[in-house]
Symmetry: C2
Subunit: 151 residues, 2 copies
């Protein structure tokens, strides 16, 4: 039998110019680079700071985080700028069965356990669960996003 529940601990926190979900302009979602100019910090807790060794070698990082302000869990939702209700796993909506978020940020600099990043789309105080390097394997040359196609 597989275990069904898993428990994770915040290892750090996001410092963002957005103080609440309402402050994030929805228009930023309209283009792939819509958050590129949003700068902020990722502060890793002292207990986990040793895990940041060599992180400076990577220009882009996956940040896995908790959508801690989400209250609704939906199976379907209408994304911004879409015309139809979609399955939640075909969207990046925060209202998911597991409120897990994933954003790729650009590492602009580091001071000890503080990472200065751009490309933030999280709000101030977002709990960070993990950081992973973005590598060659994660860049897909040919891919298809058919969200707006009739299904």
């Amino acid at each position: 039998m597989r275990a069904s529940f898993f428990r994770y601990q915040a290892i750090g926190v996001v410092h963002s110019p957005f103080k609440s979900p309402e402050e994030i302009p929805v228009e930023r979602n309209a283009s792939p680079g819509g958050f590129d100019d949003v700068r902020g910090e990722i502060e890793i807790d002292p207990d986990f700071a040793a895990g940041l060794k060599d992180i400076d070698g990577f220009s882009h990082l996956f940040v896995l985080f908790a959508f801690h302000r989400t209250t609704a869990s939906k199976l379907q939702a209408k994304p911004p700028f879409d015309t139809e209700v979609r399955g939640i796993f075909a969207t990046r909506s925060p209202h998911r069965p597991n409120a897990l978020g994933l954003t790729i940020v650009k590492l602009e600099g580091r001071k000890g356990r503080i990472l200065r990043v751009s490309g933030l789309d999280m709000i101030e105080g977002t709990p960070i669960l993990d950081i992973k390097p973005y590598t060659e394997r994660d860049r897909k040359e040919a891919f298809r996003t058919g969200r707006r196609a009739k299904s």
Copy 2:
């Protein structure tokens, strides 16, 4: 105060040709496409199947999963084919403070709540926590992976 712990539920399970971590040839990690030919299935539990609507529109999917067989949590480790010990957040090692995994798979087909995928690097029985579409925003044109650079 921010909450420090978060609890997530398996929404499905991986069916993989690899039955244990030891069965995964380490050589596959040596090239970006090292797992491209590994095929298997992602089975979403019936309770969450409605969330898969429209997923067929995407060729690539992020799969967030639990490294359920991991027992060690390390802050530093030596990756395969590396010569130095690195900070765990600069690696994709399963031995992380939070045993969360992230793999991008290619969606080859779908039968209801079963996704046929390639690019699997998880073992049989891996619990799935979330699926997200891979979009234009996730493909970074210019990036740097300096793991092997002297730090």
